[in-house]
């Protein structure tokens, strides 16, 4: 017992999350700069966003593995449960997007967003136009909404 196992996990998590945040930020910054000139900038930005979304999931996986190795089953089960919830929510909402990226139904999307976050509700309320179906015009109208 020279080194508390708790300490070790915390430090490893901090290092993983910190490193991941820097990598994700760099990728997004590169993508943002690229998007000013090149059409693939958006794709690079999305890769950065994917890194950010993967980080908490990675953290949970790391915690699950560590707690399982330490045989702290209550904590391991909790981590597994949260991972399961994330997996279910991802799997259940991935279906409509299959082969139809950006063709989601705007009305349903807005109502879902509104129910989740009052901030988004307020933002949507201030938006003069509903986002349109076409991803490119949706982008333009959102930009116009931000500028106006």
């Amino acid at each position: 017992m020279t080194d508390l196992p708790h300490d070790h996990l915390e430090r490893r998590l901090a290092r993983t999350l910190g490193l991941g945040t820097w990598i994700g930020s760099t990728v997004i910054a590169v993508g943002f700069l690229a998007s000013l000139r090149l059409p693939i900038g958006g794709a690079i930005e999305m890769a950065g966003v994917a890194i950010f979304i993967a980080l908490p999931v990675l953290r949970l996986a790391l915690m699950l593995a560590t707690f399982a190795r330490r045989q702290e089953w209550a904590f391991a089960a909790t981590a597994a449960l949260v991972l399961l919830i994330i997996a279910i929510s991802a799997a259940s909402s991935a279906k409509p997007a299959d082969g139809a990226q950006g063709r989601s139904r705007p009305v349903q999307r807005n109502s879902a967003v509104t129910s989740i976050s009052p901030t988004m509700a307020a933002l949507n309320a201030g938006r003069p136009h509903r986002p349109s179906r076409n991803p490119s015009t949706r982008l333009v109208s959102s930009r116009a909404a931000m500028a106006s």
């Binding site: 997004i28 950065g48 909402s93 991935a94 989740i116 933002l123 003069p128 500028a147």
Partner: protein
């Protein structure tokens, strides 16, 4: 949390930030897989959030409890004012930009 549980403001804000992260993780992947994330908007927001998080983490440690509460309330008041005005079609950012 602050008033009901009588937690120190630093503890309550750290806890709520952590909880927002966990709950957001469940929906973020779903929105991403649906293709509902617009990179032109998400990119700058992420960069700004990371900078704000770094600055905020330093600020929380440096500023004493009382002043932090004041700062927090003032920020929330400003944000709620902006949101309320946005609901009526007035945009503060346009005037300042």
């Amino acid at each position: 949390m602050d008033t009901a549980l009588r937690l120190p403001i630093k503890v309550s804000s750290a806890t709520s930030t952590f909880m927002i992260g966990v709950t957001a993780a469940a929906s973020a992947a779903a929105y991403f897989l649906r293709g509902d994330i617009i990179p032109a908007i998400a990119g700058p927001i992420v960069l700004g959030s990371v900078l704000g998080a770094l600055a905020g983490a330093k600020l929380v440690l440096a500023v004493p409890d009382g002043r932090l509460r004041l700062l927090f309330v003032a920020t929330l008041a400003l944000l709620s004012l902006q949101m309320a005005l946005a609901a009526f079609g007035v945009n503060l950012a346009r005037g300042m930009a």
